[in-house]
Assembly symmetry: C2
Homo-oligomer: 659 residues x 2
């Protein structure tokens, strides 16, 4: 089995090297005109300001939890180190990934001037850095701890590592979500709606904050989310595997992760525009390839090292297929090329209210098939290999995390590039190229968002079974009213959490709107383009607000399992976790897909359909898009964090033995 | 114990007599001016047209299910008779209640001209007919069957009675919901938004359909919903009580229902405006009184007949308190006198999107406390008396059904009266009186909506425990993935169901909008008030559409437990029921309260706050209100039916022994 350990170390190293090479390859490209560099620098400065302030807060929080681990008798030094390790590697991945992403955008913008092929490559490499850092640093820290402390024979002790990743994810995902939507809504409401100036117009004081926000949400936020899922799914499988089949079962998920990393690296070479092919299929094709490679690699892995026990492979396939199904369903229900988005666009001709209702309904419709597929996967993988099988399905789904994060981080790079071209006045010339770049990103965004949700749910279910093990529950009977009451409370906590995030965005967006209005009112010549707005103030408002507003929802999800554990005991906690997973999954998919379908319906109209821009139909669609923004980019993704965090906290409380 | 049976028969008879006297007292009042009678007749004709077509369809459906019961070996003649009994008594209550409600409106309108006191009394008596018929006919048919067939010793056999009530409720609640919102959205979108004419303007071709819709939704719909909850909660308690404590435990819930009926009749005498008191507390006061009387009566009942087993009383109190908590929370979060609605109204000043987001968030916030209270009630009543205790909590909550339905049916009578005054040109003169009448209705509406949802959830939980008994499940283990998968599927089915209802409303509203636009375009002199619109066509479109559109969602909730039973067995079904109850409860509360808070935020602005009517703030609030309409009056209330229906179907499938 040592071969598997070595394979994994090698693959982690390969991932980190790939990140380094991609970063260097991006940095060698020309940065474009003076004007582009200027805008790019503003975005970079904004992102730095956000990261600096956020990381200061995170560091304090992480240090306090570190101390808490240190002084809790059940945990102690090694656990606190594991926690720190999880937090620091997530922070490192986020920081470095962001640094490259905000440097790739001007370069992508410049490359767009000479054609699609090169621009796509740079944007993807910019995203690849984040993707590879997530899986590389993740596996490295996991394996380092496991081998260093001999935890392969006691994988439960790796759980604080996941909690470390969770801690950072809360800030990056919840705080990042609030940040990005504060900026977006603020920019749109005053700029597009009140002043009637285009998106990404340099006169808009919130435009840089908006561009920064794209990176904050889709690079740092998504990255930290999947970093957490990735570690938690693997650790959960190791924990359950240990009790069910010993050392070999502990190593298998690690081996699958290694295979996944190598597959993603291989697939990344496939990202190039071939003559005549629709570029929007490029990333799709590479993602599919990474899944296929993972399947083949896992086949070999099982065959060579695990006694041809192909039911293990079947569980991994369950996960891969679920991931694909969730992603494809999201794409179908939200892509402007398909009926649902066009239906929502058409409904905008009856006004904003009808547009909102039909997008809301589409979101609800869209989740039926994914949830059904996940349910079938859960049962099928259980039939194969019991609880361990369910955990493996989670690992299988997440094995291609490297590719998913890369493709998702591509989005803001391409989006920023378009914004930079627009602001530098070169937008009109290369509209076709930037539109193509953007369309590549949109499809992938829907797919990876669905993927993040599906994997969070599977991870949470895997953590749920670890919880049962840690809390010594041999049965969780629904005929016990504590379980039912727990489930109801879990659902209520998730609802409250969503409400708090949405209200946080509204409150913060309100501050932003006031500031943008103030600048338009007080800075003379701004509207005429003769004076520059104060971008920094807007970045600052979004940053401060996001950090302040994330406290309440985060405290809620961290404390609720603790309180329920004290009041109702472990059965109530089990019920609560199930209720949270169920309602969280439903809400997250609905919010993500409703938000995306409103967005794409608006874009569909902006492409000239149904009268195009400036019509009342377009106005109505803009309202839908604005409603969807905080749902799809703040509350929805935050739910992924919420359900995983609740599960991990519940496990740690059980481990601490205080209840 | 015979005393209890006699008490119940007497109280049912008293309820029916109260209905008859109230109806006669209403009918003796003057109907007002020629113009009022004319409008009243149009509403009456519209309601008749709706009922005639709906009941024809219901009759066919009921007859087919009747035959199905007849030929299924496990059921046979008596079961099919019980089914028919449930369906027919629900239909009778709905029909008679509607007849009186649509006759009370002109009389209330006329009475408004001479003051609030008399108008309030007539409107309440008009609603009281429905309330008393629901409880009177419900208890009478239940007791008739139980005594006639000796089913007090085999209460399981009463379940087809509940299914009969469910069958009618689907049509009345789902179909009624689609009807009422088709008409409302159609009338508002063209009339208020496009043409800029006031609500209830006689030039609007959809105005009569809209007035009919109020009755269809809040009289027939709400009545049939609570009729079903009422019967199902009592029967579930009888079923569980029989296994847990024999004959006495079967009779106790029946006795509580009798006490509740008498309490409601007594409390109904308290509905009168006393000099100087705020009329909006009148109905609240009477409702509270009915709860207090029920508490006292149950105390006596337990003391005299049930060996001073006061834990039985405690379970009933759990139910009463939960009902109160759910209602009060709904009121707090939606009443325009409180902060949430005012916050939502203020947010409309930042545009429609922000208004929608904050109303959506308020809906999510609002459900935390009610769900928490229900959870605590479930655990507390279980601690008292096991599963039977949970069922009793449901009975306790529903014991005041008579009052709740009466107060809710008051709403459309008062609303219609305002509309009739507006259309007959007498609106301005008595604005203060109609506003006061309406404000009484609004608070009660929020409370009773919350009550309907809470009771549906408790009833479904009670049915869930009956299901476990019928399907011989001694444990439903969440560590069995079939249960978890079932729960996920249950949540997905509820989401799909909601989506289908919302889309049904949009589709049907679209037809209505087209028709209203056509009339404005083609009927010359309509806008100038020189020609009359064709009200009948609009009523017809709403009716046909509603009946067509209810098929798909209804088939979904009826078939899904059957399919899951065949595919996954009874454990999967249990999981599914729990998932459906949880997601259904969350969705229903959120939709009801978001809808109500948008509505009341708009009304708050219309009262002259934040600039009042005609401002862009008001426009934004109208969008929110329109989004909320199908949620609060169609999809949300339909969910009550969905979760109960799924549970009953699951039980019948288990009884039939086919799986």
């Amino acid at each position: 089995m040592q071969t598997v350990e070595i394979l994994t170390l090698v693959s982690s190293a390969a991932a980190i090297l790939t990140a380094v090479f991609s970063a260097r390859s991006v940095m060698r490209r020309p940065t474009g005109s003076q004007k582009m560099v200027e805008i790019g620098d503003a975005i970079k400065k904004g992102a730095d300001a956000f990261l600096r302030r956020q990381y200061t807060t995170v560091a304090i929080f992480v240090f306090l939890v570190f101390l808490l681990f240190l002084i809790t008798p059940a945990f102690g030094f090694k656990a606190s180190l594991a926690y720190l390790c999880g937090a620091l590697s997530s922070m490192a991945a986020g920081y470095l990934g962001m640094q490259i992403a905000v440097r790739s955008n001007t370069r992508t913008a410049h490359a767009s001037l000479s054609g699609l092929g090169e621009a796509l490559k740079i944007a993807f490499r910019g995203g690849l850095v984040m993707g590879m850092l997530v899986v590389g640093l993740g596996m490295l820290s996991l394996l380092g701890l496991a081998l260093g402390f001999g935890w392969l024979d006691d994988p439960q002790r790796l759980l604080p590592l996941c909690f470390g990743a969770s801690s950072v994810a809360v800030f990056a995902r919840v705080g990042g979500g609030i940040y990005t939507k504060t900026a977006d809504v603020g920019a749109d409401l005053v700029g597009k709606v009140e002043k009637g100036i285009p998106e990404d117009d340099p006169r808009n004081p919130a435009v840089i904050a908006d561009n920064v926000g794209d990176n904050v949400g889709d690079v740092a936020g998504m990255g930290s989310d999947l970093f957490e899922s990735y570690l938690a799914a693997i650790v959960a499988a190791m924990v359950v595997g240990f009790t069910q089949g010993g050392r070999n079962y502990v190593l298998f998920p690690v081996g699958v992760a290694a295979v996944g990393i190598i597959s993603c690296i291989l697939a990344s070479f496939l990202v190039r525009v071939r003559g005549g092919k629709d570029p929007s299929y490029v990333l799709n094709f590479a993602s599919m390839a990474s899944m296929l490679f993972t399947f083949l690699g896992t086949f070999v892995l099982v065959w060579l090292f695990f006694g041809s026990e192909f039911r293990l492979l079947a569980c991994i396939v369950c996960g891969l297929v679920s991931g694909l199904a969730v992603g494809l369903a999201s794409d179908y229900f939200t892509n402007r090329l398909h009926k649902p988005a066009q239906h929502v666009a058409k409904s905008a001709s009856s006004g904003a209210a009808v547009n909102i209702l039909s997008g809301y309904a589409m979101g609800l419709l869209s989740l039926f098939v994914p949830v059904l597929v996940i349910s079938v996967s859960v049962v099928a993988s259980y039939v194969m290999k019991g609880m361990y099988g369910i955990c493996l399905a989670g690992v299988g789904m997440l094995s291609v995390t490297g590719m998913v994060v890369s493709a998702d981080a591509y989005g803001p790079v391409a989006d920023n590039a378009g914004g930079i071209l627009e602001q530098s006045g070169a937008g009109e010339k290369v509209r076709e190229t930037t539109d193509a770049l953007d369309s590549v990103g949109n499809t992938m965004k829907a797919i990876s968002k669905g993927f993040a949700i599906g994997s969070a749910a599977l991870t949470a279910i895997a953590l749920f079974s670890s919880y049962a093990g840690v809390a010594n529950l041999t049965s969780i009977d629904l005929l016990d009213p504590k379980v039912v009451a727990g489930a109801l409370v879990g659902g209520a906590v998730i609802s409250l959490f969503s409400a708090l995030v949405i209200l946080a965005v509204s409150r913060n967006a309100f501050r932003m709107v006031e500031e943008v209005r103030r600048q338009f009112r007080e800075i003379r010549g701004l509207m005429e383009g003769k004076a520059k707005p104060d971008y920094g103030r807007c970045v600052d408002i979004a940053t401060r607000g996001a950090l302040k507003e994330l406290i309440l929802p985060s405290v809620l999800v961290i404390l609720s399992p603790v309180i329920v554990a004290f009041v109702g005991g472990s059965l109530a906690v089990s019920g609560m976790l199930l209720g949270a997973i169920l309602v969280g999954l439903v809400f997250a998919l609905q919010m993500a897909n409703s938000g995306a379908v409103w967005d794409n319906a608006k874009k569909y109209i902006e492409l000239g359909n149904l009268g195009g821009k400036g019509t009342s139909t377009h106005q109505a669609a803009v309202v839908g898009d604005t409603v969807g923004d905080p749902l799809k980019d703040a509350a929805g993704p935050s739910l992924n964090i919420a359900i995983k965090l609740m599960s991990i906290v519940a496990i740690l409380v059980a481990q601490a033995g205080v209840v």
